[in-house]
């Protein structure tokens, strides 16, 4: 590593540490202001997730979806394509997986489960790919179109969950339960942690090698750095307006499938809510590095788990996590905190 890269790494690490530190300080101040037993609330917020294997397992479980959506966003951002429709793509993926599982009740878990996962990936990839296609073909603003399509899709999936696919035997707004054979193995009982965390970690590593070592990954990154230069270098830049979007959507669809088949076993209304937005934060904390997405997702899940533990054991509410996450969101792209060493690169157009 040359000196410049070390300096860049150093300033981005101190920037991240500063960001997280400020978020924690704000949470602690808020707890002191709001709580009647601040010591207890602070203890459970920070240490709670590690006090019981149930909390710890659920924290790991929560990170799975975030790893997938974080990867999806990282791939898109690396290629300078903008996927703002993660929420809808994940939700549609969850619905697609549920529909496939429910319509194939008698297949074996492997065959039907694979079909459900592939269906979810295809659904997400199609929805995001649409925005890529419009931009490739006519230069339609990708940021806005992906958001608009996603917002419409969320409402349509809501209609399916509460309307034609609603389970009448259940008072919740949800579809029927998927078959036993499609439910992922739980590996850390009594928590909800399931086997898909292995896939998530493997996917992160595979994505890293795909982006760094493969022909497509290289061309995508080149387009991300400078699309005009890549055009002159003979790269098919139009293709890479769509491919990264489709990959990104595929990851979001997968996150939806995993939420259903690993955790909830049914498509509840809003089952993936927040996965898309938080995936963006996760990717940004990871600086769009696929392997760094894993700790970033764990960190986000940790904030949630800490707030949950604090709610159960003290007098503060779960939404404290949201404030901490918002502070991190606010500061994670603040270049002033990250020194001048890092390259100035704008994420959104």
């Amino acid at each position: 590593m040359d000196r410049k890269r070390i300096a860049g790494l150093l300033s981005s690490t101190t920037g991240l540490a500063l960001t997280v530190g400020i978020a924690f300080v704000i949470v602690i101040i808020l707890i002191f202001v709001l709580s009647k037993e601040p010591g207890r609330a602070i203890y459970y917020f920070f240490v709670g997730p590690f006090t019981k294997s149930y909390y710890f397992g659920n924290m790991l479980n929560q990170s799975i979806g975030l790893i997938f959506t974080g990867l999806g966003i990282a791939v898109a951002f690396r290629s300078s394509t903008f996927n703002l429709g993660g929420e809808g793509q994940a939700y549609a993926g969850a619905m697609a997986a549920t529909v496939i599982c429910l319509s194939l009740p008698s297949l074996t878990g492997i065959v039907g489960g694979t079909a459900a996962i592939l269906g979810a990936i295809a659904t997400g990839a199609f929805l995001a790919g649409l925005s890529g296609f419009f931009r490739m073909r006519w230069g339609t603003d990708q940021l806005i179109s992906s958001f608009l399509i996603s917002a419409a899709v969320i409402l349509i999936v809501n209609y399916l969950v509460t309307g034609p696919l609603d389970d009448p035997t259940n008072s919740m707004l949800t579809t029927a339960r998927i078959g036993q054979q499609y439910q992922f193995l739980r590996i850390f009982k009594p928590s909800k942690l399931d086997i898909s965390i292995v896939f998530a970690v493997a996917a992160a590593i595979a994505t890293y090698f795909f982006m760094q070592r493969s022909h497509w990954g290289y061309e995508m990154r080149m387009c991300g750095i400078n699309r005009e230069f890549s055009r002159y270098a003979g790269i098919n830049v139009a293709k890479y307006l769509m491919v990264p979007m489709a990959i990104s959507g595929g990851f979001h669809g997968l996150a939806g499938a995993v939420a259903v088949m690993g955790t909830h076993y049914r498509c509840l209304k809003g089952v993936t809510a927040g996965l898309g937005w938080n995936g963006i934060a996760v990717a940004l904390i990871a600086k769009n590095n696929p392997v760094a997405v894993i700790p970033a997702a764990l960190f986000f899940a940790y904030l949630d788990a800490g707030a949950r533990a604090a709610m159960l054991h003290a007098d503060v509410t779960f939404e404290l996590a949201k404030i901490a996450q918002a502070v991190i969101f606010f500061l994670v792209t603040a270049q002033a905190l990250y020194g001048f060493f890092t390259t100035r690169k704008r994420v959104a157009a």
Binding site: V316, K322, A326, Q335
Partner: protein
Amino acid sequence: MSNTSFPIPMLHSTIRIMAPFLLAAIGGLFTELAGMLNIALEGLMLIGAFFSVIFAAATGSLFLGIALGIVASVLAAYIFGFISLHLRANIFITGLATNVFAEGLTMVLAFQIFGNKGVIRFANLPRLPVLSNPSLQRIPVLGDILVGHNILVYVSWLMVVLASIVIYKTAFGLRVRGTGSNPGAVEATGLSPRRYRMYAILISGFTCGLAGAILSLQLGAYVPGVTAGRGWIALVAIYLGNKTPLGILIACIVFGFAESLSNYAQGVIDVPADFILAFPYIITVVAMIAYSMIRHYRLRGSER
């Protein structure tokens, strides 16, 4: 009889429903013209909604409630602007952060103050004054549709007029537009584009605060997540309205009508409410694609 009277209340409620869209979108227009994608509208509205109803109930004064709701929203907008402009964070990400922050803050405060996270009703909350003028209401059709709304609805119309004047007829408006289209030129005249961006963000905070105040004060209660995506619809209206005040007004009428239809249509026409609510997004994405297609082929034509 019911067939002929049915559209009138529906159009009347269209006018009521569109007011918050309109206000938020007009504020968002300033940031859009200044060259920023402002997705914080939703969060700023939520902050306005929460604090206006809390302060109105606490002080017993409608005016103070609205004013303090706006102050809270402008303050949040200032934080959003400060981090985006002075700490040079990506404005799109800080916009998301503002939305998450607003959601978290209102929930945490509601829980701490009232001990629950549900709907908070205020028994002695002053009602928004309603404009009722018998002689105006006697105007056929229009009188029924346009008269009899709370005053903030009329304020929102006034805002559209005011925004048109400021944007197109004042030096300030020209500078805001210049900041978006050619920041270098603004800088060359000795002005700071960053300052005009901040002004635009604060204006959006102001109008979103007012938009939020309408939402919660006409309910007379605070409902968690009361904005329910209205800030996003406002953003969408800016695009469908082609970034002009008049276009936004028309887009808001269309969206207001769609939502009003979804309330009235249940059982009358056989379209699920969710589909009607999805309509603003679908029509806007179609319009955007059509717009980019036209531009694409026109550019191509001129190259030949």
